[in-house]
Symmetry: C2
Subunit: 192 residues, 2 copies
């Protein structure tokens, strides 16, 4: 075995790139967000990791609301801009056409094919970051991004980030079917 | 605007497919894990979402340890098998060649290019799932998966899952550079 330990910051998990929507001092604000996941099956809940230094952290603590927006590959430049420039110094409220759902402090980006509206239910305080858990109130999309009523990743056309090489990636080819490809092994293993 | 609300279970975030390693009743066990994220910058911490019905949930509660293993596209069949078959009914200990790091109950898969060894620091109880937060003790890889000392996603060759269409995807093309592509907008916006 030729395993070696590598630096703990050297991850190689591609994260889906999103934009986190909040209200910062009464103004619409968006930051690039990569560290997020679904955290509960029923009800549907999402968890997001926000550094305590980020203005969005204060914004979510204050309002208890946020949105997750999935940009397309055509939005790479403006998405990356939202990750470089802080809402503390720069007004990002004019970057996007926004809309609202049920929540007053969770602005959503019209041009993003998927918008997820969340209300904070738990706040987990960690050393440098806060992990906010939110119940998903609504998910918004458009007919043109769906196939048979479900979001189609090839129509949505999201992109991924790997760190620390800091590269963006498209989603590649469909290479398998989950909860199906493994079924063939059940028989194979039984007969050995 | 032609936004519509869609079913809250209809996500379209590609998740990186991993395998969660635990000890279940003294035996090595792995389950397919998609809902995970980094949750803290320093120290490096990961959070994983495990349904309370899964045997791995009991295993992590008991040992306070787990591993995250990143399989390659060549491992789709066996990875999916680990997601279909429960460790309560089927002994999955013989599926992989495993190795150990510092922890005694966090078996890691030799054939996976990236292995992350975690010790639980917080357990967040949610309605149907548990969100386990673990400090990353070590990350393991091999020289052949690195470029300039860092994991190279094209050498690691992980795959992604979208739900609820339940399809596996490869990582596509490098289409941008983070913390760089957005910089051009800073000047553009200043001059408008």
């Amino acid at each position: 075995m030729s395993k070696i330990t590598i630096d703990k910051s050297l991850f190689c998990l591609p994260w889906t790139q999103t934009l986190l929507g909040t209200h910062l001092n009464g103004k619409v604000n968006f930051m690039a967000l990569d560290w997020l996941t679904r955290v509960n099956f029923d009800p549907v809940m999402m968890g997001i990791c926000v550094n305590k230094l980020n203005a969005s952290n204060d914004a979510i603590r204050e309002a208890g609301e946020f949105s997750i927006n999935v940009p397309t590959v055509e939005m790479i430049e403006v998405t990356d801009y939202c990750g470089i420039v802080s809402g503390r110094k720069t007004d990002k409220s004019g970057l996007f056409d926004v809309f609202y759902g049920e929540l007053k402090s969770a602005p959503m980006i019209t041009d993003c094919p998927i918008n997820i509206e969340c209300k904070v239910t738990e706040t987990v305080d960690l050393p440098t970051n806060t992990f906010f858990i939110g119940e998903v109130l609504n998910i918004y999309s458009e007919e043109r991004y769906l196939t048979e009523g479900k979001p189609d990743v090839k129509k949505v056309n999201p992109f991924l980030l790997t760190m620390p090489d800091n590269r963006f990636w498209s989603v590649g080819d469909n290479i398998g079917k989950a909860w199906k490809d493994g079924a063939s092994l059940i028989q194979k293993l039984k007969s050995t």
